[in-house]
Every structure is written in structure tokens, then in C-alpha cells.
């Protein structure tokens, strides 16, 4: 493992992940009965035959909500690796992250002021 350096552990983790997932899916593919019927494939609506089209033009408001969520979700993704190696950065790393979070807080304040978070 010495020669592979730190990448070896990443490859090992990847391999173990894929094989476990693959094995699980393979076993279930072998044993599961597969008898599709027209009623089974219909969308489930509390026991009713589905009524009305599902592809309906939603209000644009759902899209705004989704975007605000994605922004802060991505922020969390960046926070995680930083938080793991937090000890090594010292004051500089901390300040750097403060600036990053600060900019996003600015975005949140703007969204809040514009009333995006309030459902009309």
C-alpha cells in the first residue's frame, strides 16, 4: 500500500463501495419476482385511478425555493472537507471560511428581504 500513497485508500474505498452495492443489487435482481401488470405500473393515487394530467405547469415559486436550497446545500458541501481538516489551517483558514460563509449570508439576507422565503 506504501507505493500507492494516499490514493490507494481512495481506490480501495471506491472498490469496496461498488462491490457491496453491486452485490446487493445483483442478489435482489436474482431473487425478486418480476410480474408487471398495467394497474401496477399506473401512478399510485390513494387507491384511485389517476385523475388529471401530472405534467402540470407548476408555479414558478417552487423553482425559486429549489434554487435557494441548492445554494446552501453546495455551501455545506464545501464546509465539510474544511471542517475535517480544520486543525491544520490555523487562523488564515478560519478567516477564509468566514469570508466564504459571509458572502453566502449576504445572499440569504437579500433573498429574505426580497420575500423569496415567504410563500405567497
Amino acid at each position: 500500500m506504501q507505493t500507492l500513497g494516499s490514493y490507494g485508500s481512495i481506490v480501495a474505498a471506491l472498490v469496496v463501495g461498488v462491490t457491496c452495492l453491486g452485490a446487493g443489487m445483483f442478489v435482489s435482481w436474482i431473487f425478486r419476482p418480476d410480474r408487471p401488470s398495467t394497474v401496477k405500473l399506473e401512478p399510485y393515487e390513494c387507491g384511485e385511478p389517476p385523475v388529471g394530467p401530472a405534467l402540470v405547469r407548476f408555479r414558478t415559486y417552487f423553482y425559486l425555493f429549489a434554487i435557494v436550497f441548492v445554494i446552501f446545500d453546495v455551501e455545506a458541501v464545501f464546509l465539510l472537507p474544511w471542517a475535517v481538516a480544520f486543525r491544520g489551517f490555523g487562523l488564515f483558514g478560519f478567516a477564509e471560511m468566514l469570508v466564504f460563509v459571509g458572502i453566502l449570508l449576504l445572499g440569504l439576507a437579500y433573498a429574505w428581504r426580497k420575500g423569496v422565503l415567504k410563500w405567497q
Binding site: 435482481w29 436474482i30 431473487f31 425478486r32 418480476d34 394497474v39 401496477k40 399510485y44 387507491g47
Partner: protein, 176 residues
């Protein structure tokens, strides 16, 4: 046609095949019978007794059906708890069809078994849910006490334990 319809019959012909298949069946059935997720499907009085079975005193989570699933896609067992009427009949069939295989049905209460107190004079009641969907366990009582429902689930587990993979030769003398 799923692959599971073909390979058991194929491996049965080999000398060790039968042993391999029965051990596989044992593990499959052991997994299925100990995690029967019931569909929340209460109609009338028996539904409240089903809640009591889920409540702390009788607690059918001990038998593995902890999670009461609202949608048939994630449910294994449908407990028909209450009076089945003609207006609901079509919906019950649709819900049963939309459940994933392998699925099991417990007809809980005299109403679901045979129309119960409404067997004779009611114009709106289906005399027994087995006119609509195949039923595995019939549980009498009006309403049956939670202990009786726990007993019904145990009987269902015995029945699941005897399940066999599709395509295998039937065991001589076994119940159909």
C-alpha cells in the same frame, strides 16, 4: 419474465442443487417473514384494534412489522381491517395490484372474512374480501383483540416459512 423463474428449475437437476435451493429459500423466507411492513389500511373498528396492536402495550414491532407504510409500493402485507363495501371494492383491488410482490393479505375481523354482522341484511357490504383479492390469513373476531392479530401475524410467518422458489418440483404431500 424474471430470471428467478428460470434458474431454480435449472439448478435443481444437479446433485447438490436441491440442498443449495432449500438453504437459499430458508434465508429468503427468514428475511421476508421477519420484516413484514403493513400497509396502513384501516376501514372501521378493526383499524383501531390494529393501532392498539401497534401501540406500546401489544407492540407488533416485536414481530418485525414496526413500520406502518402509507403507500402500497413499500408495503409487504395488507391488513384489511374493517367492513369492505362495494364502493371501496375497486379501490382495494387497485391497492392490492399496486403492491410489490411478494405480498400477503390478512383479512382481519368478521367483516373482512365474511361480511360479519352485515352478512345478511346489508345491501352495501361485500361478503368477504376474498371475493376481491386472494387472502392468506383469515382472522375472526369482531373486532379481534390485539393478541389475536399478533397470532395471525405469527401464522402468516409460518406460511411464509414454507414458501418455495418458483419453478421447483412440488414436495410430495405438501399443502398446495
Amino acid at each position: 419474465m424474471a430470471i428467478v423463474e428460470k434458474w431454480p428449475a435449472f439448478t435443481e437437476r444437479f446433485p447438490g442443487g436441491g440442498l443449495l435451493l432449500t438453504s437459499i429459500e430458508f434465508f429468503l423466507n427468514w428475511g421476508r417473514k421477519n420484516s413484514l411492513w403493513p400497509l396502513t389500511f384501516g376501514l372501521s373498528c378493526c383499524a383501531i384494534e390494529m393501532f392498539c396492536t401497534g401501540a406500546p402495550r401489544y407492540d407488533w414491532a416485536r414481530l418485525g412489522n414496526e413500520v406502518l407504510r402509507a403507500s402500497p409500493r413499500q408495503a409487504d402485507m395488507m391488513v384489511v381491517a374493517g367492513t369492505v363495501c362495494w364502493k371501496m371494492a375497486g379501490r382495494i383491488q387497485r391497492l392490492y395490484e399496486q403492491m410489490a410482490e411478494p405480498r400477503y393479505v390478512i383479512a382481519m375481523g368478521a367483516c373482512a372474512v365474511s361480511g360479519g354482522p352485515f352478512h345478511f341484511d346489508s345491501y352495501g357490504t361485500v361478503r368477504g374480501v376474498d371475493q376481491l383479492i386472494p387472502v392468506d390469513i383469515y382472522l375472526p373476531g369482531c373486532p379481534p383483540k390485539p393478541e389475536a392479530l399478533l397470532h395471525a401475524v405469527l401464522e402468516l410467518e409460518k406460511k411464509i416459512a414454507a414458501d418455495r422458489l418458483p419453478g421447483r418440483r412440488p414436495v410430495k404431500g405438501a399443502r398446495p
